[in-house]
Symmetry: C2
Subunit: 505 residues, 2 copies
């Protein structure tokens, strides 16, 4: 296990991971493969080594257990279609029509899909998905995104010129952070992120050599964001850096909370007071399950708070094709809306985006269909609605099921999954298990997840990959497996945990 | 013109660019729009300003004239399909089948396309392009890339484990550079790039705060790479930084030269001698036109030079779906092959790639079709070959045509376009024009290109965007317009240039 963990820490490269998720025989092959490379070191010294490489990149930590476990139950990553969720038919029909326009003559595609495909193609250079788009994204798609935001926010205006299409939300988040980071020593930019967080944030902060400023979500209060905790964090941070950015993830990943309107108002007021640039990660905006809560966009609340806020607070909010009910992760589609950006900075942002030419145009097209779905009266509306509601209805069922099952297990406590796609239960780890983990040079929750994987083939991510209060332990598990499979998974985790408690009693 | 240039320098944001490429009336609208935003400054001071932003990002320069001129002849960017080139039918058929698998039952798609689509889908999570792939890319696609490289290089082995699929070649180049850059002061990493260069390199070097080390290509010798010039550059660089990386673009962008085998051998020996990590940008490997030259991959030459080189020299080479005969820029597909990478660095590289999850899976699929095209005996072979040869045959014609036309113009000298997709002619700018440019606070070649655009609607990129020897002036023009249109373009440039010489005689 020690070797496996070491290899996982080494970046969990599929080819060097060893037995976990593979047969022992292939594991042996792996082992020898790992050994085979050793002699290379006796060769002429490499130019690029751990010593000579970029130290910021070396410092990047990325939640350990990811990709490699293709042959086990991958409850570790929010990849809906990999877990069997079917693509939304309408979305794929439009994409196919855009990809191979000869199909526009085919009677087997609905008119509303053809209409959208024609509209997208007419806005592409040479009427082709194969041309570069403007670096900010295809114009008519940015218009559709703006119209979507206006509808979503009950009429609050959105300007297509403030919309930037991106390569998934990750690209937008790292681009905005890249522009924001500056200064040295005590004036180095501080970026406030929730703990637990989605590890993209800590990774990009490390890459940019910025200062990570943690604020803790309140686990005892369903992972709510408490403004007093923000105050504590920013005050402490000011002693050693210049806090300039506040990142919020709502609905929360990995924590699944959905913030109240009041909480969002408080956060916006705090950002205004402390002169912080707001980053609102809202990729789970369609994934809200509890009947007693609802998604409020930061943009909408900002406007409802009046001109002092709506014309001053700088806000970038992010959305993606990867989550919601469509789960189109592979197309890497996304957008960001950036408001109150200084006019001179807009040019700088577009320049920065131009260096990478443009986001994938197929991903932009996928984003267009997400923000411009069939409407009542259109041919595909009925099927689209059925498919959408079926996905979201199932997720709501599975969210409740997961919460209930976990809370039946002694030594596991799970907050309600109000939104997003994950459970982040707190697990009790006995002293003896802590010692065993230490003996394996592993964090206790990494040790727990490794054992779980070994004994059940279920792959989850230890809480230490997201951050958690000192002395508390968690893991993140997706609720994406089909209901029956999820029940089995939860039962296996339950049995494993009870056995684990006995083993280390 | 002054305002336009200023706006262009500001990053040529489509909405703020002004008259060039738009009607004067809309230009007026632009102007007032530009004025309207001024008052914002009287507002509460922004958090993100030119003063507070990331200085490395501010320092990024990106070849000015790009996207905005959608209504003019966009001879400024290598975007084949935007200039009317038709996609390769087979490629789009496979892509459509992967996008909407119901089409696998359709009799209107050829069997060989279906075979490839099934193979790709079987390797995707949930058999869907909508799932994340491994961060390094879909396994079977990496295998196809390795097989392609082995075929291309006459049997020189390629290991799928050394293949990384990327979001276009740009993504691979910036990722490798990001890992390579380290040190401070005199030990800061120096990155050697050709002058003229493709501006991605200078932009990424600036973003990473690395040291740009220029080596000049020999214009008098058809833009050949001369190793003595590399020696001069590296010796000089050692006085103020640590030269660690050598970037080569072959075939050349913007210069169009194709390097001889001998030259590549010399470069590899130099890299070995000077302990430099080699970056070989080979995205134009299919774009070679002169009968008297041929593409040699750095990988192949490296192996043919024997084990001392093939087992020691660290080389990353890059390819893309965007150029060649397919011109699929919008899918952002690409790969890099990295050899002799230190085993510990592999894990670091995969970790870094994991942060952005994965490259667009549709782009990966496009890459697969490029490296795994129809073969003799397959249903689509004949049509595929016809389409491919027609594109490459036309490009060869247009390369010769462009060279000949330019060289008929007094005050223009153009080296042979041996490869790639661009002419980079040298232009004589009279003293009076220099003064006029200075009066407009513009580089002389920027002034020239602005006038060309104003008077002919032809958009080309000034040589200063790529770098050129002090006191010489050039512009880059693509040869992508259809033959008849290209003839008109060249005639217009000719007439403009003669008029320009008279005006400023």
């Amino acid at each position: 296990m020690q070797r496996a963990a070491a290899l996982v820490r080494r970046g969990c490269c599929p080819r060097t991971l060893g037995p976990w998720g593979r047969s022992q025989s292939s594991a042996a092959a792996e082992a020898s493969a790992v050994l085979k490379v050793r002699p290379e070191r006796s060769r002429r010294e490499r130019i690029l080594t751990l010593e000579s490489m970029n130290p910021q990149v070396k410092a990047v930590e990325y939640a350990g257990i990811k990709k490699p476990f293709t042959e086990v139950i991958r409850a570790n990553i929010g990849d809906a279609q990999a877990m069997g969720q079917q693509p939304i038919t309408f979305l794929r029909q439009v994409m196919a029509l855009c990809t191979y326009p000869n199909l526009l003559d085919s009677p087997s595609f609905p008119e509303d899909a053809k209409k959208r495909a024609r509209r997208i193609l007419q806005a592409c250079g040479g009427n082709s998905l194969g041309s570069y788009s403007a670096s900010q994204g295809v114009n008519c798609i940015r218009e559709d995104v703006a119209a979507y935001i206006t509808r979503r926010d009950g009429g609050v205006p959105a300007d297509p010129d403030n919309i930037y299409l991106t390569t998934g939300a990750s690209d937008g988040i790292s681009t905005i952070l890249k522009i924001l980071v500056s200064g040295g020593g005590k004036s180095r930019t501080g970026v406030m992120i929730p703990i637990p967080q989605y590890p993209l944030y800590s990774a990009v902060i490390s890459e940019l050599d910025a200062i990570q400023v943690n604020y803790y979500l309140d686990e005892d209060n369903c992972w709510a964001l408490n403004v007093n905790e923000l105050r504590r964090a920013v005050q402490q941070a000011k002693e050693h850096c210049n806090p300039k950015v506040l990142c919020i993830i709502n609905p929360g990943n990995p924590t699944g909370q959905v913030q109240s309107r009041k909480c969002i108002e408080d956060v916006i007021h705090f950002a205004w007071e402390e002169k912080l640039f707001l980053l609102a990660d809202e990729v789970y905006q369609d994934n809200v399950y509890s009947s007693d809560c609802k998604f409020h966009s930061f943009k909408k609340v900002l406007y409802e708070m009046g001109p002092e806020y709506s014309s001053n607070v700088e806000l970038a909010s992010f959305h993606s094709t990867s989550k919601g009910y469509m789960g189109e992760c592979g197309y890497r589609g996304g957008y960001m809306e950036v408001i109150n950006l200084h006019p001179e900075i807009k040019g700088q942002l577009v320049k920065l985006l131009s260096v990478r030419l443009c986001p994938p145009v197929s991903g932009q097209a996928a984003m267009d269909i997400v923000v411009n779905p069939p409407v009542p009266g259109e041919e595909s509306f009925e099927q689209f609605s059925r498919e959408k509601e079926s996905v979201l209805g199932n997720l709501a069922k599975k969210a409740k099921l997961t919460e209930d099952m976990f809370n039946q297990v002694p030594g596991i406590h799970c907050n309600p999954l109000m939104g997003a796609m994950y459970a982040f239960p707190r697990i009790f780890i006995p002293a003896k298990a802590m010692e065993a983990a230490q003996a394996h040079k592993m964090a206790p929750d990494m040790f727990y997840c490794m054992k779980l994987l070994e004994e059940t083939g279920i792959c989850v991510v230890p809480g230490s990959g997201f951050g958690q209060r000192e002395g508390t332990y968690h893991f993140r598990m997706t609720i994406l497996p089909p209901v029956e499979k999820l029940k089995t998974v939860l039962q296996k985790v339950k049995d494993f945990h009870i056995k684990f408690l006995e083993e280390y009693a």
